[in-house]
Symmetry: D2
Subunit: 359 residues, 4 copies
Amino acid sequence: MKRVKVAVIGAGFSADIHMESYARFVPAADVVAVYDGHDPKGAGNFAKKHHIPAVYDDLDKLYTNEEIDMVDICVPNYLHHGLCVDAARRDKHILVEKPLCLTLEEADEMIAECKKRSLKFMYAEELCFAPKYERARALMESGAVGKLFMLKQSEKHSGPHSPWFYKKETAGGGVMMDMGCHAMAWFRWMNRGAAVKSVYSHMSTVLHDTDCDDNTVTVVEFDNGVTAVAEDSWARHGGMDDRIEVYGTQGVSYADLFQGNSALTYSNKGYDYAAEKAGATLGWTFTMYEEAFNQGYPQELAHFTDCVLNDKEPLVTAADGRAALEMIYAAYESARTGRSVTLPFSPKVKYPIELWLGK
Amino acid sequence: MKRVKVAVIGAGFSADIHMESYARFVPAADVVAVYDGHDPKGAGNFAKKHHIPAVYDDLDKLYTNEEIDMVDICVPNYLHHGLCVDAARRDKHILVEKPLCLTLEEADEMIAECKKRSLKFMYAEELCFAPKYERARALMESGAVGKLFMLKQSEKHSGPHSPWFYKKETAGGGVMMDMGCHAMAWFRWMNRGAAVKSVYSHMSTVLHDTDCDDNTVTVVEFDNGVTAVAEDSWARHGGMDDRIEVYGTQGVSYADLFQGNSALTYSNKGYDYAAEKAGATLGWTFTMYEEAFNQGYPQELAHFTDCVLNDKEPLVTAADGRAALEMIYAAYESARTGRSVTLPFSPKVKYPIELWLGK
Amino acid sequence: MKRVKVAVIGAGFSADIHMESYARFVPAADVVAVYDGHDPKGAGNFAKKHHIPAVYDDLDKLYTNEEIDMVDICVPNYLHHGLCVDAARRDKHILVEKPLCLTLEEADEMIAECKKRSLKFMYAEELCFAPKYERARALMESGAVGKLFMLKQSEKHSGPHSPWFYKKETAGGGVMMDMGCHAMAWFRWMNRGAAVKSVYSHMSTVLHDTDCDDNTVTVVEFDNGVTAVAEDSWARHGGMDDRIEVYGTQGVSYADLFQGNSALTYSNKGYDYAAEKAGATLGWTFTMYEEAFNQGYPQELAHFTDCVLNDKEPLVTAADGRAALEMIYAAYESARTGRSVTLPFSPKVKYPIELWLGK
Amino acid sequence: MKRVKVAVIGAGFSADIHMESYARFVPAADVVAVYDGHDPKGAGNFAKKHHIPAVYDDLDKLYTNEEIDMVDICVPNYLHHGLCVDAARRDKHILVEKPLCLTLEEADEMIAECKKRSLKFMYAEELCFAPKYERARALMESGAVGKLFMLKQSEKHSGPHSPWFYKKETAGGGVMMDMGCHAMAWFRWMNRGAAVKSVYSHMSTVLHDTDCDDNTVTVVEFDNGVTAVAEDSWARHGGMDDRIEVYGTQGVSYADLFQGNSALTYSNKGYDYAAEKAGATLGWTFTMYEEAFNQGYPQELAHFTDCVLNDKEPLVTAADGRAALEMIYAAYESARTGRSVTLPFSPKVKYPIELWLGK
């Protein structure tokens, strides 16, 4: 079996999910090294845990010492651009976690660097691979619900654990950057061929001590008349919640990735873990299983590995990540102005959330 | 037991639910007559079915022949104003089905006529009496979910059966008038003391042959920072759906009145009836029971009967109905302009939906 | 309105539910007195809470001072027989809470005393009135699921609070007496006209410090080939659970009275009450509403009140209670012998559970 | 990567699921041939569909032409014994679909043949690998629900499509052989270390034209006091249903593999496929996804492949299959006698169902 040599960039939460996914479900991926420029000790522990043979905190050494086919970038948002451009210049295929980067200018440069070298550049939107959502998409495409007229997607939990998510300098924005990007990408995925016409968003900061948004409702209008509604929150307790609704003129389909896939448990004693960000496990809990698989991570990674191995174009590209980012810009602008914002919309900003905060 | 003499005005779908509710749950109400100015024969059958002693198609005769304490108005929207004002001038206490009327001017006149005679004038928003939703409200008010920051309510089915719902002349608008009014009233009920700051709405006509809206998403902003999201649709198949979500800084509560209260049935043969507007009953169905009770109709009618008997102020008044109507105006305006509309907002219109349609 | 004068016998948990039901839903019942021979002070508080004008701890005084039409017996099992016979001899109509009494001989005497005086004697099996279960029965009777072949009913919680439930001298047995009686009665209710052929039961004591059964599985065979399966437990944590399944050759219907009718709440702070025996309310809980109504108590009490007022035969009689008790005998015998026990089965015992315990 | 050469024996429904599982999730398995002695044409189509290079209807040729490490036996029950013994004598590792075989004598011979050649011999009980059920097991083993006292498992659908399932000569029995075997094996898996003390079963034939059982309830008693309840039916419409309940002294866990993992869809038009044996797709349906994965097939096949490659003992062995078969014997005996049957129980029979049918 031909295999792809992978360097994982980053050793945090999402790198962990990626490693579990590679190890259990992507035999064609051979993770040969992990790089972390900020926490070499953490990276060392990560490498041990996941049996990765080499650890680097120096990019030059990484790329000099190791023969790498693709990099898998799992680091805070503000680092995406630099690491992508660097990897592209070293002729590596790139998978980058969401959101693509902080600004449209960064996105354009990243895309251009990959394009001129004909590198594969995938945007890691796992919802496009979540098997239950993909079943709902197949259903829709088979005509089961008639002509699509509305999509809904929501992702909610009580907020990330790492402090960088809550600062515009490292994250670019709040929950809209962190989780709204899933909705934006998934809406386009479900309504392929249609263009986003406008975005309206209402945002608040209701729970966390941050100037970023932690609760948002966003309405997207497509040029084929489809309406899409996103709800994203860092202020909903009780563990991760990820839901979709697909409305057509002949029917509807509902799916969710967590509670709707869980065992239902009551425990007087509590136990190790119920689901991502679920907190305490006394009393009733929704006990998840195979979280990575159900969210589409292994399928996504297997797909990109296959693209690299067999010279295929990724189903979700950096251009899709850029489009999601443009929608996020529009959402922030709308949240400030109270108006739906028409696309294209590409003002020059340092961080998308500035458009909401007003500077 | 002292009893209230009631005349039911109208003999259609909602009059039917009211009669079932009076008969089974409101012993203090004595329905002595039914009036229907448009379909006397239907009213006759209705009277027979519900054992109502007298039937009228002439208001003067109704009020001359019968000693009436209160009227219960269950007729198409465009008739509310005239029948209310008439009843008020005859010194009858009034319960009027939703929406209150077509325009704010009508509302003002109705309210004034009742006020100057010190009549009880209740706006029949049954969601304020639906026992499951009231349990969620009590929960919220006990602090169980912390400080409220977001409300959601949605009501969806595949569209009313009577043609008058689909015409602006008789209904004043589409699904926003018919079902959005529930959301608007319930948001204010749940967030009492706070004022509506703005309303944004996105509307479409996706399923029915009408120029009225049949699918809407509405975002309401309150002055205490609470966000409220309404979804109302006449384009969702599979039977009536009515749901709420109550988000606070310490928790969340979800409830729904139909699927979440149903038996789950599979039938190879089908059966009489699963739930309001549920259509066919082959295969899997959600079999409702006690629909009127679960939606709060008997509780609402018992409450108004008690108000009339014991000189109490209704918990939901015509002023609340007027406030919901103002929000509907703002929603229609917003749907045309793509902007959130700040309240107060009381343009002069013939029908609220004109604000969306542009004339 | 003609009204029935009621004396409530007992002032504990089930008397409380009955009083709430009378007050809110049975206008024709006029509860004029409460009697409690064991806890007069508790009865006093109970009377105050429920606005009952008179309290007695002496039966002679009760019946001398008050004009009583019917008694509603809500006391520990071992007191049913004596109080029923006494009331019958005073010519009162009788409603008695489940189980009917401790032994078949007691049952026979109670029935005979009422019969010779032509008194109404209802066995208070509320499941025969629970609106959701009655909907499922109507569905079955309409042919929606074809020919019935299997019934299931289970009732589970973590055990009663009063100590008398756990002693054979006061309760006659454990969870089979307390909750198994519901299943036995409901199976016959659903399969009317058919006779019970045999009963098999497996019993254990798994959680409580008692020699009574606290976890049972029972299989009932009817002479028309229908199988019925009961699960009853005092060892299932997480709040009251009451479920049915109705299987026919053309379909199936599932219903439950608690989780399936609840709001779903997550609370970091906890709150007053989620549902009967639900315990702590931190984290996820199933928040019940209208528990008495959903379990059928008001409907049951209204029915008996109507029987007394209008000389109708109760739908569920003491003969049904006796039949359930005979099935319980058979269940206990079976649990000891490991064999299904054929009916009729009426050994002479002091307490039904002796048949399991072996003395 | 070292790979195992597999011959799939049989080209029907379960072979199909195995092939999907190998192809997508078991890279170490290399299916080199399919054999079908009864339907060579069907096997040809099967091979084409699954890209299997060789097709045989002659065992000698299969084993002569191909270098085979393991055989995966997916054929009607009555063929298990012969094919296993044959494969063992040719020194092949063996995975055999459930139930193990028709009789305990067959089981003993199969086990002996493999044992003397030190062959891996796995019993394919996929429930021991279903990820949701395995999560519930881990939960239980972590102490989350306290001390186990009751297990439940049910599997129900409207009956298999192939006629051989309905004949004792080919199947050995009805739904108890076909699906009861899952429950029996899973109970032992969950309660490892404990021995089965007795089995009680009630059986009927309610829907199908067969002399085999199509609806059963079975109560198993373990020597550590655990009770286990199985329900298995070929008479429950609405698509495959597979559920577990795990009761302990400190809590409970519920899980199901189909409805509880599905998207919920309403379609006016119907669509291709909702779930195994779900039939029509008009109206409401539970739309399954990743059925093989959720039932544990890939995990089971990957495990055995790993056992063969790396000389490990399978987690579920033919001895477990034999133990399940002994429990089935006891169930059939019990269904005839109305008594719980104590193990060991190994009467000499031609088909297990004889014990119920009486010869």
